[in-house]
């Protein structure tokens, strides 16, 4: 089932399907401690297999994880998109930012765009994110995206928290959406200097 992966553009970012040339950045993160909340660190072989599976996911599900690039320099910054391997109870909205690019709102900007795309183009009526309870950056990002802890939803294996995103009707045109776009605009402002601890 050949699939053509749409290109999404935002103020600062361009999102394309994962390509072989973007693998080195994926590898350096997934073979490191940074991947501890995503089943890592992995060895070289496992990392390659996972990256190939990220591509295969698109062909099986018709959606998947995009590679986030800086739209000016084309530098790969991380990944965001939909993820649903076999044992996931529901399709997940997932993100990961390469360590050297964290703290600039890229995950927020990319995930906000892919959520809207999955809602509008793929008919998703809801979305969850499965987050390790120790992954504070991801919990904060889920909350900034307007997601709320859903204690009634099935978890992957009991070791994760389920955050449920606002449904399309609760999101589009809402104050939540407006607030996210304000925050992204602040990050995109060259004079804006985030205060406090780095956040994705």
């Amino acid at each position: 089932m050949p699939v053509s992966i749409p290109v999404l553009e935002t103020k600062r970012l361009i999102l394309r399907g994962p390509a072989p040339e973007d693998y080195p950045n994926f590898k350096s993160t997934f073979t490191s401690y940074r991947a501890r909340f995503m089943g890592g660190p992995l060895n070289d072989y496992e990392t390659w297999m996972l990256y190939a599976a990220e591509i295969g996911h698109w062909h099986i599900r018709g959606y998947g994880m995009w590679m986030i690039h800086d739209r000016v320099t084309d530098k790969p910054l991380g990944m965001a998109g939909g993820w649903k391997p076999a044992k996931w109870p529901e399709p997940e909205l997932a993100w990961i930012i390469w360590p050297e690019t964290a703290g600039q709102g890229y995950a927020l900007e990319a995930t906000h765009a892919v959520r809207a795309h999955l809602y509008r183009q793929h008919g998703w009526e809801t979305a969850v994110s499965y987050v390790d309870p120790k992954n504070l950056d991801s919990i904060r990002l889920a909350e900034r995206l307007g997601a709320k802890k859903d204690g009634a939803a099935r978890t992957i294996d009991g070791n994760d928290i389920v955050f449920r995103h606002p449904a399309p009707t609760a999101l589009f045109g809402s104050q939540i959406e407006h607030g996210i776009e304000m925050e992204i605009a602040n990050y995109a402002d060259p004079l804006f200097k985030p205060k406090g601890m780095p956040i994705d």
């Binding site: 390509a19 297999m49 996972l50 190939a52 076999a86």
Partner: protein
Amino acid sequence: MSVTITIPRLETERLILRAPGPQDFDVFAGFYASDRAKFVGGPLDREGSWRMLAMEIGHWHMAGFGRWIVTPKSGDNAGETAGLVGLFAPEGWPEPEIGWDLFDGHEGKGYATEAAIAARAYAYDVLCWPTAISLVKPANDGSARVCQRLGCTRDDDFDHPRHGTVQVWRHPAPDTLVNGGMEAYS
């Protein structure tokens, strides 16, 4: 810039080799859950099998080649998902490999050999591989016999971090095969 690759379709006398897809998942998961998968990284649960199938598809996009689903052209099992045979070279592999897994009920018919000959001809004639190996776990006698039928000879064993010690079988070089084996597929 993401490249869309078209996975070629090959034909042999009795078999069609086509792209793996979602429709193969149940057979694939059944095989990987079984004891027969112990020589090829199994047994795996459904999650592991799903990721493996996604990886096999993604392999084509990463490497420009990969493994095909083998289906018989005719007979009682025509069109069934009978096996996974082809070219495999993830990171950490000693060299690009010709590999084969036959799913339950499709063993003993010579399908692995027939499909591997077509895959080898594709590797040599289309991809211009100068050589090829096949990896076989010790005690996987069925697979070692396929290697012998394909004219392979033993090289030094290889130690893999996940799969342990595996036998390396080296295929005859392209110039020692008649017409490079071109007649093996159409």
